[in-house]
């Protein structure tokens, strides 16, 4: 059994940035098991993307090119990939851990009779084989796992865990077509459209300062202290997913993988534990302050400054200190 496949995700001719991270992960896995990494592309008329992938230092780019694969639908994508995998027997199939890829990777694992290891953030080759690290308990802890046996595995890698592969290596890998059983590419979803999850009233992406609030706020009645802090900072208010799901703030305030991706100069995270889905939306912040009662909260790992304690005491004190420090 053979190689390591990195599955490239794309939309409207452009690669999802996670694709290039999957390529890096695939190369590292290949190195760890003494194999080679290939990039795999499902789509229609994806020559430009295949050429880009060919320059990443992979051994080859395998392309399944068919009109039924033009845009993502799980049925055809699963059938095409399973068929190709059965024929070429890759040992690892590596996906970016995205809303699109995870939607069908389990189907691929089932069809290819492979094990599944999702949301990997690191891997380490050792005497007893590869040890894989993934976040658990919403990022509060990490688990190290191993894979038993040498059967095939389907793996997904979390955004930002591996650097994007260099697409200017000076190498050009061969582009090889993958056979597709066109008759089997039946879409079971009848696509009706795409809509915005929220009317984008507030564009947080351009804000210089953001005060973001998380589950730790406890309820909407506690929001005034956050508003006062935001006002003192001249900041907009954002939120992590639980706040939105509970209806404490409207969905257009959501920051994270399913919300807006922001890169302010100052990001103040209040009562946010720092699940990976939130961190991917704010890691571009220039300076991050975390206020949380749990000293073990993962947000402290990415923040520049941290205050451990009761936000209901700290936030008003911070507002007061800001107002008092203003040059008169």
């Amino acid at each position: 059994m053979g190689g390591v496949w990195a599955i490239l995700q794309h939309r409207e001719g452009k690669a999802h940035p996670g694709s290039w991270e999957a390529v890096t992960a695939a190369k590292r896995i290949a190195e760890a098991i003494g194999s080679t990494a290939d990039a795999v592309l499902l789509g229609s008329e994806v020559k430009t993307l295949a050429d880009e992938a060919a320059r990443t230092g992979v051994a080859s780019v395998r392309v399944a090119d068919h009109p039924a694969l033009a845009s993502y639908v799980p049925g055809p994508y699963t059938v095409a990939l399973v068929g190709a995998a059965k024929q070429e027997q890759p040992r690892f199939v590596v996906f970016p851990h995205t809303y699109q890829s995870v939607d069908y990777m389990a189907g691929v694992a089932h069809g290819y009779d492979a094990g599944v290891l999702s949301e990997v953030i690191a891997l380490q080759a050792g005497a007893d084989g590869v040890v894989w690290t993934r976040p658990i308990l919403q990022g509060k802890l990490q688990a190290r796992a191993r894979v038993r046996g040498d059967g095939p595995m389907v793996v997904s890698v979390q955004a930002g865990a591996f650097p994007a592969a260099d697409r200017a290596t000076g190498q050009t890998a061969p582009i090889v077509p993958l056979a597709v059983d066109a008759g089997a590419l039946q879409a079971e979803r009848d696509l009706l459209g795409v809509e915005d999850a929220a009317a984008d009233v507030v564009d947080l992406t351009a804000c210089e300062r953001i005060v973001a609030v998380g589950r730790g706020i406890g309820g909407p009645d506690k929001l005034p202290i956050i508003r006062e802090l935001a006002a003192a900072l001249g900041a907009e208010i954002g939120a992590s997913r639980p706040v939105i799901d509970n209806g404490w703030l409207p969905r257009d305030r959501q920051i994270g993988s399913s919300g807006q991706t922001v890169a302010p100069k100052l990001y103040v995270a209040v009562g946010i534990s720092g699940a990976i889905q939130h961190l991917v939306g704010m890691k571009g912040a220039n300076c991050t302050v975390a206020i949380n009662k749990d000293p073990g909260a993962p947000i402290f790992n990415v923040a520049d400054y941290g205050i451990v304690g009761d936000l209901f005491e700290i936030v008003p004190a911070l507002t007061k200190a800001l107002l008092e420090s203003r040059p008169s």
Partner: protein
């Protein structure tokens, strides 16, 4: 409609976590457990769909140790009609493939019009178990569902699925299907006193490995390719500079640092 709902019991997200002695999992003694958030939303969705369809049944499935009965009892109090507890030491330490094998075998024992569950557990968070159940049952599925409208007399559903960057995808899916909902699709109800009383008379069937027809090597750790060796707290990395002192002093330190060091004020 007859709807199966798969739920998982997980540690309360607010609970302070400690490692067990071996460092292989968290210490479960004195740890509060709840129904996984997105699974509770799946249950709420199932109850609403059942009631809107004018009848049918909501059957809740959960795999896990004895404590899981409490989660099933709560699901019954919320309005589910009956429950099945996959309860057997042979099920423990399963990876997503082994757990999906068991859940699919249990759910597949009777016909359902729809299978609902959450998108991801708040503990192990594999995010793939329900999709594997769908694959095993040969049903279409969707992950990260934010809206379900049953149409066509239960023959299909209009599904809203979350994508990245604030977009939703809308499509039609034939039923039966496995739909994995996102937390936030609805606001789950609270159990009423009447519901809690009624739940006491509702059935919780216990299903063992043999009863759902799995061989010894197919369930739990024995049927798993992935084994968790160790769990630990993430290393702090560079980490935040933690400000010490009383509340007023940390606040003024922070303002000074933001002004003079970070230069963001």
């Amino acid at each position: 409609m007859k709807i199966a709902v798969c739920i998982k019991q997980v540690p309360d997200t607010e609970a302070r976590l400690r490692l067990n002695k071996q460092g292989t999992w968290i210490e479960e003694e004195d740890l509060p457990f709840v129904i996984n958030e997105s699974d509770e939303c799946a249950l709420e969705e199932a109850l609403q769909i059942r009631d809107k369809s004018g009848g049918g049944e909501v059957v809740v499935f959960s795999l896990g140790p004895e404590r899981v009965r409490e989660a099933l009892r709560k699901a019954l109090a919320l309005g589910a009609d009956r429950a099945a507890h996959l309860h057997d030491p042979a099920f423990s330490l399963g990876d997503p493939v082994a757990t999906a094998r068991a859940l699919a075998a249990a759910v597949g024992r009777e016909p359902f019009d729809l299978v609902l569950t959450g998108s991801q557990s708040d503990d192990l968070g594999w995010g793939v178990t329900a999709s594997l159940v769908a694959a095993r049952l040969g049903l279409p599925h969707a992950w990260l569902v934010m809206g379900i409208e049953v149409e066509n007399g239960g023959g299909s559903a209009r599904v809203v699925r979350e994508m990245e960057a604030g977009k939703n995808e809308i499509f039609r899916l034939r039923l039966p299907a496995v739909l994995e909902v996102q937390a936030g699709i609805n606001h789950p109800r609270y159990a009423s006193l009447k519901g809690i009383m009624q739940a006491k008379r509702k059935e919780i069937a216990t299903l063992s490995r043999a009863e759902i027809g799995l061989a010894e090597g197919e369930a739990g750790a024995a049927g798993s390719r992935v084994e968790i060796l160790k769990v630990d707290f993430p290393r702090a990395g560079t980490g935040a500079r933690i400000l010490e002192g009383d509340v007023a002093s940390t606040a003024s330190q922070l303002v000074e640092l933001l002004r003079a060091e970070a230069r963001v004020l």
